[in-house]
Symmetry: D3
Subunit: 278 residues, 6 copies
Amino acid sequence: MKKLVLTGAAGRLGSYLREPLTQLCDELVSTDIADDIGTLYAGESYMSGDLASMDDMMRVLDGADMVVHMGAYADEGPFEKLLGPNFVGAYNIWEASHRLGLKRVIYGSSIHAVGMHPKSDFIDTNVAHRPDTFYGLAKCFAEDLGSLYWDKHGLESVHMRILSCAQVTSPRALGSWLSYDDLIQLVTRCIDSPTVGFSVVYGVSDNDRAPVDNSQVNFLGYRPKDNAEQFAADILANAEPANPQDVGDMCHGGPFASVALGNSGMATMDIVDDTKKT
Amino acid sequence: MKKLVLTGAAGRLGSYLREPLTQLCDELVSTDIADDIGTLYAGESYMSGDLASMDDMMRVLDGADMVVHMGAYADEGPFEKLLGPNFVGAYNIWEASHRLGLKRVIYGSSIHAVGMHPKSDFIDTNVAHRPDTFYGLAKCFAEDLGSLYWDKHGLESVHMRILSCAQVTSPRALGSWLSYDDLIQLVTRCIDSPTVGFSVVYGVSDNDRAPVDNSQVNFLGYRPKDNAEQFAADILANAEPANPQDVGDMCHGGPFASVALGNSGMATMDIVDDTKKT
Amino acid sequence: MKKLVLTGAAGRLGSYLREPLTQLCDELVSTDIADDIGTLYAGESYMSGDLASMDDMMRVLDGADMVVHMGAYADEGPFEKLLGPNFVGAYNIWEASHRLGLKRVIYGSSIHAVGMHPKSDFIDTNVAHRPDTFYGLAKCFAEDLGSLYWDKHGLESVHMRILSCAQVTSPRALGSWLSYDDLIQLVTRCIDSPTVGFSVVYGVSDNDRAPVDNSQVNFLGYRPKDNAEQFAADILANAEPANPQDVGDMCHGGPFASVALGNSGMATMDIVDDTKKT
Amino acid sequence: MKKLVLTGAAGRLGSYLREPLTQLCDELVSTDIADDIGTLYAGESYMSGDLASMDDMMRVLDGADMVVHMGAYADEGPFEKLLGPNFVGAYNIWEASHRLGLKRVIYGSSIHAVGMHPKSDFIDTNVAHRPDTFYGLAKCFAEDLGSLYWDKHGLESVHMRILSCAQVTSPRALGSWLSYDDLIQLVTRCIDSPTVGFSVVYGVSDNDRAPVDNSQVNFLGYRPKDNAEQFAADILANAEPANPQDVGDMCHGGPFASVALGNSGMATMDIVDDTKKT
Amino acid sequence: MKKLVLTGAAGRLGSYLREPLTQLCDELVSTDIADDIGTLYAGESYMSGDLASMDDMMRVLDGADMVVHMGAYADEGPFEKLLGPNFVGAYNIWEASHRLGLKRVIYGSSIHAVGMHPKSDFIDTNVAHRPDTFYGLAKCFAEDLGSLYWDKHGLESVHMRILSCAQVTSPRALGSWLSYDDLIQLVTRCIDSPTVGFSVVYGVSDNDRAPVDNSQVNFLGYRPKDNAEQFAADILANAEPANPQDVGDMCHGGPFASVALGNSGMATMDIVDDTKKT
Amino acid sequence: MKKLVLTGAAGRLGSYLREPLTQLCDELVSTDIADDIGTLYAGESYMSGDLASMDDMMRVLDGADMVVHMGAYADEGPFEKLLGPNFVGAYNIWEASHRLGLKRVIYGSSIHAVGMHPKSDFIDTNVAHRPDTFYGLAKCFAEDLGSLYWDKHGLESVHMRILSCAQVTSPRALGSWLSYDDLIQLVTRCIDSPTVGFSVVYGVSDNDRAPVDNSQVNFLGYRPKDNAEQFAADILANAEPANPQDVGDMCHGGPFASVALGNSGMATMDIVDDTKKT
């Protein structure tokens, strides 16, 4: 591949992906809303751009083969706050990719698109949407958008429903953890698979307690190597007792399943991406 | 029921529903973007309002028990054109209904939320989304929104995926027709069912060739009475030969499955609702 | 068929079945725990017996071809109270039928064997057990018993999961009603079907709102004729508002889904069978 | 449609279809291995031909739009006996249809392609093959052939798995009966449906005891009108007791499920088609 | 966890679990029907009790957080013999646990609850019951009991359907073996999982030939480490030829699938638990 | 096992299996159409025979316990060319095995029996046939034949749907590769499993990108050890770009999915078996 674009490059996961992605292409264009993101890696350039602006996205994606779209407002918030970056931003990415002839979008979706399914359902990648937040609702929207552009324009996309790509600090994360190494493997498979059509894949490590089913997309070749069980003894020894009547303890979305809609008020959470807004 | 609101009351289907809905409540508030809609029925009042305005929707829904939400830009068009009435409009309806304590939203969804599924799949109401247009994408969005508000706020909704509520003029309509009488029965069931939670139901008559499966929502009691087979001999005698390689002939969405995304350019189509834009 | 036995013949449903069953055999032996049941029909004889006594059941079933087993304590109650008639009684019926060479057991099971499934699940006859009461738990036990005797001894059985065979007095019954005529048709099909192996069938009329799926046992030929929708207008006009957060309103078991375990304390309920205990 | 070909026109079912098919086309070409079939209907011509001869089939199908392929050795028999007419014959029909540009093959398949499935499985049209005889094996072969030519050449086909198109004389036929009128409706739908791709449909009337599931091909619009239950009282009163340990009583294939492979030795059976061999 | 109770502590599997369970709690109360069980482990105390006595179970479970319920008559036997310990005993455990406020029951269920399913069905944990013995019927009963108490009282339970926790001495055991180490891991996961609701899990090692599917309860984190394939060469070299017409060779229950109901007459079998009766 | 027969012993895969199979029996009879196959292994004898001749197959299989049937015309070709060796040949093998009392047929089937299923469907071993070539059609035929002889005669068979047992030279083979060692393990499991009934299993290594699902036949104990991912970097670096609109890139059958029916005209392909025709 010649040219690859990464959105949300200044965010938490985006920052982490920059260096590995430079290994997979001749030229990486990183983009975010900030004016700059500091020192660049070999093979990387930076272009500032607003996801909510079609002109910006047309400019940023010009000449690219694929885009890894991680940019978004990366927390639960009021619908009005997510409308621009998460909804319109996704539309701009797909429409610009289509106009410019890109081959594929690799999208940072989230478990929160299906977070209200009970954890006792071992959900596969064909399960119906069941968002837990406006944040998850925006992920549903982008997945449906990807389905539409594949069916109508032949634009491929893979939707990585990331569970928790962060330090393991809770019992839930023993099942939902995605290690950074496994994240990189996942993104690499999404890029190097010869064909993907429209696909959905869960972003989760090879945890003993992983509660989701990737078998439908076995052909992608994603085989995670890390396992959160290494942290189990410590985490469980210090955990608060769980409450089987609490949707946050019983549903795939975890804390997002019980959070107030539109206003998390939570200090920390296992969110996926993290576009810095200035 | 005391007070019911009907959005899109000036549209094609909305116009037809006004009189029957007055029979199901003490007070029907019809609303649309136009200044007035002419002569009112007994028990009906009219309030002008823009779906894209939260203030308008808060004003229109105030004091209501339920809302039948049929308002939308009722054709395929550019995403930008649908963003206000179809996406933001749906959000405003659900959020205002929640804030005001309504019990239920009855929504005019569409087969186009799943229109790219091949007709040889007898799709049920749990099938994954597969929109065929931006119009269908907006229906997917509203269905996910309904799921979210039910799970988080206990606000009930029924999503009527109407196939073709119009005169039977094509072979496809022999399967997809929804008669006006059956539409009224369907809306009535959506209103009088004691509980609906979050439900999806196909709006189609009892056609011999009906290609979709409502059995999952049998409990709603929707039992259509009309059958488009009465038109079959005439329609088939004069029909152009179908093309089994054409997605428009093979998929549930019909002409929307083969139309160009964002710009139908079609003179007539089997659309559901029809908010008059002035 | 020469000789047929009916247990629970003094109960509510048993009483109703006596006369029709005399039409299906040369000799009907009715049995219950009472000393007598009054005037007999032509072709009917009566034998008193206690379900919990193997000796009694061996005596009653001697020489019979099939047994229609409706006898049970017919309400929710303490486990200890149901242990004899509902659990041990079922064992005695199957074991005696096996020892005596009967061909088939037709069993009055109940929706309460699966009553905690949400009504939004259109449950078929293969769904896993999910009882709502000790009463339902006994039905689960008898179904498993029937499976065991079919697999190990070739003793056939049909398990009629009756929903509500009583007057329609609540919104729930609009879906769950089984008319007496349809009950008789159902029992007749269970008897005249050439083979049944081990089968489960829902006992429900052809209600518009019927929430369960008998398609897996289509081969039995049960095609109900009555429809509770005739009562809908009256019932719904006078019904209390339903509560979508109440398991009693949302689950198949209805009031048994929300009743206190082991002690109904309810004045009236839609129970199936009704062995008079003196 | 201009020109339609009917194979097996001298057989039992073929004979019955000749007149109705003349109503559906300008020109019907009937064919069989016999030299002539007597008096012709208006619009009908006859061409003698051997199914096992590609030359014959190329000659017979020339210029046709569709073919209704009912010709076959119509009973269980040694594999060697069926190889020509049933296997090679089917290949000749599909290959000649492809070479000559026909639009569609309507094929007289049979329940015997899936006859070893237990009747307690309500099999749908996607169930895996499970033939009960060499006769059924040939039906499996033709179905796979139809799938292949659709996928590779876009040649459409509908495979009518006929259950028992004959007088009702056994308890099994109470479920499996296909009336002649319903057969004609079925063939008509297979012809007039705008698109069929590759489809399988069970040929069975609207019997109360029908043991198979056509819902997957609802879009074809086949809605049988007859019901064998009208014969039930007589048939059941005089039937031998069934044996639940007998595969012939428990499997969809009925007597073919228990017949000796390759040599039926049965005087009468519920076979579908009946090419006269001279 | 502070206090844990183990029933059937004098039985074969119970004896093995005593020491490991002391590592998982501050205080382990072992119980069985015998007067004593000899030397105790650190942290362990012993209380004699009869499963069939509610008073005994109320006394034994008092103050506990969870109970590992392994006690039962541990072989096939007459129904009357199992009624007390296996049926009433299970009821007493759940009812006492509910009254005393325990959080969870971990139950020693068995493959014999579903043992008549053919081994060619890769059964998951949602499969319908299909017991192979009265022993298995009692396991079905306890599973339904666990479902009921979870739905009605929020009392959690995990039902470990153990296949064969014994030395590998037959070809069947190459698939069904559960090593002692894996048993301990399984029980540990059942205890340390933050929430389990009502769950079923197969107790089987990571055998190449394991015939059952635990994927639905992946969230429990049970990942067995042992593999009976290490014994395959020896076992297969000396095995009697299997008989594909024998239910014992073809069904999940193995020898219990072909044993006479109620009276095994077998010298050794792969049973789960083993309450010593004196 | 005493005596084992291997057909297609002169073919590519047959040649490879000869030596390992001598380890699994007292006497291996290798057969092919050639007069001789050169030097024999210890315990091996050779008999020339034509698959299309029943007499030859009766002679070759006489006295054997099982047969590994790999012989076939091992490429796509005209139907007429495959009719003898692939269709009639399979019939001869099964019929002769039945007449001679063999216990089991192990058959070299192929992914091409289901090759037109899209690779985004993770197909299991119960999926409906969907052949991609006449070659695949013959595999479908032999599978149905195996089902028939199991149901009617109790003759066991395992159908190994081999994906690509050849050097890894294309991106597709990263998923479809079956290593020689894994092939040997697979054939060994098919032979040493105590019972197999009628089973289908995919022949594929433990590739990260393996696109098919063997879980339904877990009981066979086939656990492949090799993984084509070791070749991924090289293969992908030099691969032509894939085309997501090409059935050859999107379907399980790979190049056979896009090849012209009946005449491959391809220089090399990933075919399974390879009977030398002289």
